[in-house]
Every structure is written in C-alpha cells, then in structure tokens.
C-alpha cells in the first residue's frame, strides 16, 4: 500500500489533474461558445434586416406617403415624422420629471418617502409595456380618441424610470469633495445642486436620456393600443387623431400576408434599427467617457 503523500513524486500532471484541466478547458470553451452564439444571433438579425431592407430603401421610400388604400409603392415618411414627434414629446415630458425624481432620491435621501418612491420607480421600470398601454388607454383614450399625445405619455412612462436610474447613478458618482467644498464656502444646498452637482453630472444625464429615447423609439405594444388607427398624412398634431409611427407600421405590415408589405416592413425595420443602434453606440461611448471623467 502506498503512502497518501509521496514527497518524491514528480510535480507533473497526473491522470487526475489532466482530467480536471480538461474539464476546465471544456467549461471555459462552453462560455466562449455562449458568447459567440449571442453575438452571432445579433449579427444574423442585423444582417437579415440590412439584406432584406436595403432593397426597399430609396429616396421615395423615405420621403413619400404610403398609398392610401395599401398596396405596393409609396414610402414611410409620415411614420418617420410621427415617431420623431412622439418620441421628442415623450422625452420632453420624461426628462425633467426623471431628473427631479433622481435628485429627490439622492440629494434629499433619508426621508420617510425615499423608500416608497424608489419602490414606485422600480415598479414602473418593471411594468410590461402592454400594461402601460392599457393604463394610458384607460386614462387618456377611453371615451375620447387615440392620439399622438397618448403615445408620448406611454413612452414617457417607459423612459422615466430609465432616466431616473441613470441620473441617480451619475449623481452618486459626483465626488463628495465637490459637495464638501461647496458647503465649506457656505453655498446653500439648492445652489450646490443646481450650480455644482447637476452640471458635473450633465453629460451622463443627457446620454442616459438618449439611451432611453433609443429604447422608447422601438416600443410597439403601447402604441398599438393608444396610437394605431391612422391615415397616411404627415402630421405634427399630437392632440388630434392618432399619428403614423414606425413600430406600428412594421407590426401591421408583418401581420398581413402580403409579400410587398414584408419588403416595406424590412425597409422600415432597417430605418428604425439604424437609428437605435447608432444612438446606442454613440451614447454608450459618451457615457463611458463621462464616467471615466467623473471617477478620475
């Protein structure tokens, strides 16, 4: 019977160690495979959208209205204008409220209201977008009519928690020394917030808002409920009837069994995806930079 421990044994891999190393290699390769799979799916989706959508893109597609009674030809100009309008109004509503909530939660933290408000923001963030759609339907559409404003309101509810969260993160990154310095100079609380803390967090707040815009621009479920029965006119009138928009156009075209509609859907998807991915890339780059500046 051999001893359990043999000090003269050579320090090379025994069979057991070889097996353990092999298991480790297999496991780490599996994680690489998972990452390749996810990136591959992204590439596949983006590639398909480009491949099938590029054929649809033309000057006419981007600037003309769709034919009034469906069918081939025409473009998606009213939908592009409509989505831009809806999202801009939503951002104008969500950004001030989101930033104010974030200031309340970080700068005026510690009160009895902090926890419930934080909970409310988290709940709002976890609401399925279709539920937000039904809520806005009950609040603004039922008994009245669909409108661009209702769509903006729904998108604002999707953007608000995202903006509040990214602003909170940025406010927490503002160095404590800045606050201390302002306090030592006898600067009042509100001047410190408005004049010192907000400006130094501004870059992050803006990019956070841009990311929220990119997220909201593609939301379809709430728009389907509150802003989906529209004509083919380009309009900025958000309080009038429903206004055309890209996500609902893609959805409607994809649900019809019409091949020329599919081509248009891919074209509209390409326009939307280009906007969203470019916005994401730019905003993420800027965000990383302003984070670095803050923590340096």
């Amino acid at each position: 019977m051999t001893a359990l421990y043999d000090p003269t044994a050579p320090l090379t891999a025994s069979g057991n160690l070889r097996r353990r190393r092999a298991v480790s290699a297999v496991a780490s390769s599996a994680t690489i495979l998972a990452a390749v799979l996810a990136v591959g799916v992204l590439a596949l989706v983006v590639f398909t959208v480009i491949q099938r959508g590029a054929g649809a893109i033309s000057w006419q597609f981007l600037t003309a209205a769709p034919p009034q009674f469906g069918g081939p030809g025409g473009g998606i100009a009213p939908a592009i204008v409509g989505t831009a309008t809806i999202v801009a109004v939503a951002a104008a509503m969500a950004m001030p409220v989101g930033v104010a909530v974030a200031i309340f939660l970080t700068e005026y933290a510690g009160g009895r209201l902090t926890r419930p408000i934080q909970l409310a923001v988290d709940v709002m963030n976890s609401l399925p977008s279709i539920v937000i759609g039904l809520f806005v339907f009950g609040l603004l559409v039922a008994g009245r009519h669909q409108s661009g404003f209702a769509a903006s309101f729904a998108l604002a509810m999707i953007m608000l928690p995202l903006i509040a969260r990214s602003t909170q993160e940025m406010l927490r990154l503002v160095p404590g020394t800045l606050r201390d310095a302002a306090e030592a100079l006898g600067v009042s609380r509100w001047r410190t917030i408005v004049g010192v803390i907000l400006p130094s967090a501004l870059g992050g707040i803006v990019t956070g808002t841009v990311l929220a815009i990119a997220r909201a621009a593609g939301e379809t479920a709430p728009l389907l409920i509150v802003c989906s029965i529209y004509g083919n006119k380009t309009t900025f009138d958000i309080f009038g009837q429903a206004i055309p928009n890209i996500p609902v156009s893609i959805f409607t075209l994809s649900e019809q069994a019409d091949p020329s509609g599919f081509t248009k859907a891919w074209g509209a998807a390409l326009v939307l995806l280009t906007f969203i991915l470019l916005t994401n890339i730019v905003a993420r780059t800027l965000l990383a930079r302003s984070r670095r500046n803050m923590t340096r």
Binding site: A30, V97, V101, S126, L134, G218, F251
Partner: protein
C-alpha cells in the same frame, strides 16, 4: 460713523434678502423634486386603479372562474384565461431554460475568462442585442426563424426526441410555442448576461485567488467559489429575465400563432396573456371583450409582481442559509 452704520445696515439687509431668496429657492427646488416623485407614485397607484376599473365588468361576470375556463369566444361573450396562463408559463419557462445557462455562461465569460480587449467589444455587443426592438425581432421571428424551425428544428427534434410529448410531429407553419420560446430566449439572454456579469465581478478577488492558490483550476474556482457565492443573485437575475419574458407582447403575438388551446407539443400554436391583449385589443367586439383583455393584463401584472417578490424572497432565504455576509 453714521455712513458706516448705514453701510453696515445696507449690507445686513442685502444678506437677509439673499438668505430669504436662498430659502425660497431651496424650498422651490425641494418642492419640485417632491412633486415629481409623488407624481410617479400617483401614476403607479393609477395604473392599478385603471386595470381594476377596466376589468371590473369581466370580473363581476366571470369572477375567479375566469382563471380555469379554457374557452375564448368573443362572439358568444364567453372568456377564460386558462390556455393563456398555460401559454405564458410554458413559453416563459422555455425561454428561461434556454437563456439561463447561456446568459450565465456569457456572464462568466465576460467577467472571468475573456481577455480585457475581448470584454470591451463582446460586452457592448451582447447589450446591443437587448436594444433590438421586439417588433423587429418578431418580424425576423416569423419570416426567418419560423421557416427554419418548421423545416429543420421541428423534424430533427421530433426525430431524435419524438418519444417525449413536448416534441410532437412537425407542423406546417413555423408559428408555434417553440418559436416564441426561442424569440423570448433571445430577449432574455442579454438581461441575464449583463446582470450576472456584474454579479460575478462582486465576488472578492481574494476568494478567487485563494482557491487558485490551493490548486483549483479556473472552472473549479467558478464551481467552488463564484457560483455558490452568487447563487441567490443568479436566481434574482433569472427572475428579472422571467419578468421580461412574461410581459412581452409584440414579438410573441407575431410568432406564436394566436390559438387558444392547451397542447403538450411545443410545435403547436398557442397564445399568452400579453400576446392576446396586443392581438385583440384593437378589434375588440364588445365592452365585455375589452374588459376581459383588461382582466388578462391585471393577471399579468399580478404574476409580474409575484415573480419580483419571489425573487427577493429566494435571495434572502438563500443568503441566510449559506450565511453569506452582505
């Protein structure tokens, strides 16, 4: 002498005025932030109110029997949510079964195994997958993934695992619970990946170094130290992903086939709560129909909140059991 006092008096008055302005401005800023916060709280309360209000008609007509009725016949004013609850649970569960191992593996790759340069590109790319709008993923789902599922995946799975009832005979359309599960998995993977990556990075460096110094291979460090220390967090990440899958309406309605029915086979069409609302709300034929859809959304909200509560409860009890100090 008098000039000096007058000057001092003026200065004091100016300071008082400044103080007063400061006080009012400070109060105004606080009031604004408080008002915004209360608005958010009010909106949440109003969401609950609107859903209850909207579903009142259906609730008073069907009561809780709605949950166990499997019929959905708008023309006959008969509505039941059982097949939709089934479809929601099955499609989300399938998404989670696929997405949890893949997402956690990506999290491990990004936090443990990948070189820094690879991390910097792969991480944002995976997050970019979450930025693809659901309507575009759904479009891809019906026109690209669906045909592939019908032509390749279904026959292959039925051939290999046909003895399991979930892999029934292949169908003529690609619109099925199976396709919906895959599309949902694609949406859930980036969420689990980014949450679990951040989670794995919180494991103290010394713990990992200690295990390595004892001769553990990289995988043994993960199995023995990283995963046990973060298990509750992974469960929470899974619940976050589950919440996303449960609530997704558009992409699911595009690919699931929109049929009412409870089938064992994943290759048959079905429907979910959220998908049914998205699909039928515009064309609702009666007030009762609309109300039934509101009822579905209320159920969705309750399930979502329950998932969240469960996630936190799992986290807490697990932390207590293994005695992780946080």
């Amino acid at each position: 002498m008098t000039a000096r006092t007058a000057h001092a008096r003026r200065a004091t008055a100016a300071r008082r005025r400044a103080n007063r302005i400061d006080r009012w401005a400070g109060l105004a800023l606080y009031a604004t932030c408080l008002a915004a916060s209360l608005l958010v709280a009010l909106l949440i309360v109003d969401v609950a109110y609107q859903l209850v209000h909207g579903s009142h008609l259906a609730f008073s007509r069907f009561g809780l029997g709605f949950l166990t009725t499997s019929e959905w016949a708008p023309n006959f004013n008969r509505f039941g949510a059982a097949p939709l609850l089934f479809g929601t649970i099955v499609s989300s569960a399938m998404a989670l079964v696929i997405a949890l191992p893949i997402g956690a593996a990506i999290g491990l790759f990004l936090s443990m195994f990948a070189p820094r340069a690879v991390r910097g590109t792969v991480g944002p790319l995976v997050e970019m997958l979450a930025a693809v709008p659901s309507v575009i993923l759904g479009l891809w789902g019906i026109l690209v993934l669906g045909p592939w599922v019908r032509g390749t995946a279904e026959p292959a799975l039925h051939g290999a695992f046909g003895f399991l009832p979930i892999f029934g005979p292949a169908q003529t359309t690609g619109a099925s619970m199976f396709t919906a599960g895959i599309v949902l998995a694609i949406m859930v993977v980036p969420i689990i990946a980014s949450v679990s990556r951040d989670l794995f990075l919180t494991v103290p460096r010394e713990l990992r170094d200690g295990a390595e110094a004892l001769g553990a291979t990289p995988w043994e460090v993960v199995r023995g130290v990283v995963l046990p220390a973060t298990a509750s967090g992974i469960a929470a990440a899974a619940c976050l992903g589950l919440g996303r899958a449960l609530g997704e309406a558009i992409a699911v309605t595009q690919v699931i086939g929109n049929r009412t029915g409870v089938h064992a086979s994943l290759f048959l069409p079905g429907d979910t709560l959220a998908s049914r609302v998205a699909n039928q709300f515009q064309g609702a034929t009666s007030a009762l129909h609309t109300s039934a859809l509101f009822y579905l959304a209320t159920l969705l909200l309750i399930i979502g909140i329950a998932t969240n509560v469960l996630a936190q409860w799992i986290g807490h009890s697990f932390d207590r059991r293994i005695g992780v100090a946080r």
